[in-house]
Symmetry: C2
Subunit: 335 residues, 2 copies
């Protein structure tokens, strides 16, 4: 590592110029009330004059804390991208408010991931981690908990909800809201287009739909597809070919919803007027769809803020907490 930075003013520079000790300068910066008004002014003037800023590395060394959190840079192939992209942005913003920063890591494989985190933490590169896309039997969760490495996750700790701090969006609430919305709008044949292998996330979303349908005393109409457009289109075609065709479809994802929209258009069904379609995630896909795709929006901004608050809390040895936030409906042409 070459030393390339031109020499910056240090706390000693300022101290000498202001005719005080280093500690007084430090106090002037971090605890102004401890310094008498006139020296404070003098020190501040010098600080501005030489454009002094405390060196973060030195501070990090002494405080054993870098103010850095690591987040795994998602792979470009992943569909979730479009949600996580927004989340990452909000996360940066939230970190900033706590004078923290996010650094990215890009593990090649999942096995490497935990090892990489361990490495980063033990070398004091970062104070902890923000995970996203957790799933049942997630090695990262158990691994980090076991090692006592601080982290928060966007997504529940499925296996041990009390063992770590997480924030998640209540998928069931989202689909329930959507279903009830359609009911209030007069729809009576409301279908659900979900994922076949129903992991935890897909399961909850389906659950919300079923609950709502049960309490509305309606017969559920369900179909399943993979999270790809073609698959969704095919599954939706089947749904829409039913003799008693559904008038609204609540979808497990925007991909599913867009596929559904395509299927409807191909069959000459007017999306919006004749068929309501609700996506999930309010991703960039919603803008591409025509008519605009209504979607269940995750409050990523709130998730990010809460996660950061919680992480700072952890640093002050608060106990782990799980938080479930409710999503909200975003109405566009399709609903």
């Amino acid at each position: 590592m070459s030393r390339n930075q031109q020499r910056m003013p240090t706390i000693a520079t300022v101290a000498a110029l202001a005719g005080v000790s280093r500690q007084t300068v430090s106090n002037a910066v971090r605890a102004p009330h401890r310094v008498s008004p006139d020296t404070l002014l003098r020190v501040q003037t010098i600080i501005r004059e030489v454009d002094y800023r405390p060196n973060r590395s030195a501070r990090a060394l002494q405080a054993r804390s870098t103010g850095l959190l690591a987040y795994r840079c998602h792979r470009p192939e992943e569909t979730e991208n479009l949600v996580l992209d927004r989340f990452l942005h909000e996360l940066c913003r939230a970190a900033d408010e706590h004078d923290h920063h996010i650094t990215l890591v890009s593990p090649i494989s999942t096995d490497q991931e935990l090892a990489m985190y361990r490495e980063l933490y033990r070398s004091g590169r970062v104070d902890g981690f923000v995970l996203s896309g957790t799933h049942p039997n997630d090695q990262r969760l158990t691994g980090l908990v076991d090692e006592g490495i601080p982290f928060v996750s966007f997504g529940q700790n499925w296996d041990a909800p009390r063992a770590s701090t997480w924030v998640d969006v209540d998928g069931a609430s989202g689909t329930r809201q959507a279903t009830e919305h359609y009911w209030r709008s007069g729809h009576r044949r409301i279908a659900f287009l979900g994922w076949p292998d129903d992991g935890a996330v897909g399961g909850h979303r389906r659950e919300g739909y079923r609950e709502a349908m049960a309490s509305l005393r309606l017969e559920p109409i369900e179909a399943s597809c993979f999270d790809r457009l073609e698959s969704a289109e095919a599954a939706a075609s089947t749904l829409l070919a039913l003799t008693d065709r559904p008038t609204a479809v609540v979808c497990v994802s925007d991909t599913a919803a867009l596929g559904c929209s395509w299927a409807a258009q191909k069959m000459g069904i007017a999306v919006g007027a004749e068929l309501g379609i609700m996506g999930f995630d309010d991703s960039a896909l919603t803008l591409i769809a025509r008519p605009g795709l209504s979607s269940i929006r995750q409050p990523t901004d709130l998730v990010a803020q809460t996660l950061m608050d919680r992480f700072i809390g952890l640093q002050h040895s608060e106990a782990p907490t799980g938080t479930l936030l409710a999503p909200s409906l975003v109405h566009r042409g399709s609903s």
Copy 2:
């Protein structure tokens, strides 16, 4: 900042356990050849035993270099996202190879951006910056150059090409390749769908098309639209309504291309068979389009690698260089 990390083994711990001095341990880690084989083995054993890792903050302090580069987390609204997403991923990977990391910043406004960079650099948080999406009269470029802050950019330094280190993709080459490809496939009426306000990027792409058309002795057919689907669709409709309708369209972006594809489908023109469409950027949009959208792909991986190499070069006081890389065609259904 609370000190929350449990006490980790330091170089002194290892030194004591191995019965050598701190410096010997340091050498064992960073310059093994300076240590005799048997002590080396002894030290390495202890290191593994206590799972020692050099503390990055301490190293950063002493070396005046953090091994951190800052990159501006792009705003979720921006269209370029879909390209930059991939770039960011590759950048992380490339940084990793040089034992560096990327940290994100999220300035609220453009004016803040430079101030934020200044702040980050002067407080020793980062060693430098990676910019993307540079444009003529870019305040960031001139500002960073003036302050002597190290940076590299994905995108030329339009105003002062020799003043800073950049890597860019040769847009003209891309559209030229596309145009020539269509010519070789037998097309003779090849149109270009560009941006109206032709900034530097759009201008170069248009340029490449015109050059190719000129050298092929074909009459250029041009239309313009904003980088939005509706706008592109409208402009493309006009193009396709010409009496002597073009048989291929080279587009300035994937958005333009997708809009064009929609227009064609609405007019009952078979995309692929009757009309070739070529996008630009090979973004996620290409996968959504049907038939799959052919596109001019920027070699983001190579860009990222080159940028990182160059940055490391800068640290060793190499002179600034500009590098232009050629994009390549990715063929899918639409061409």
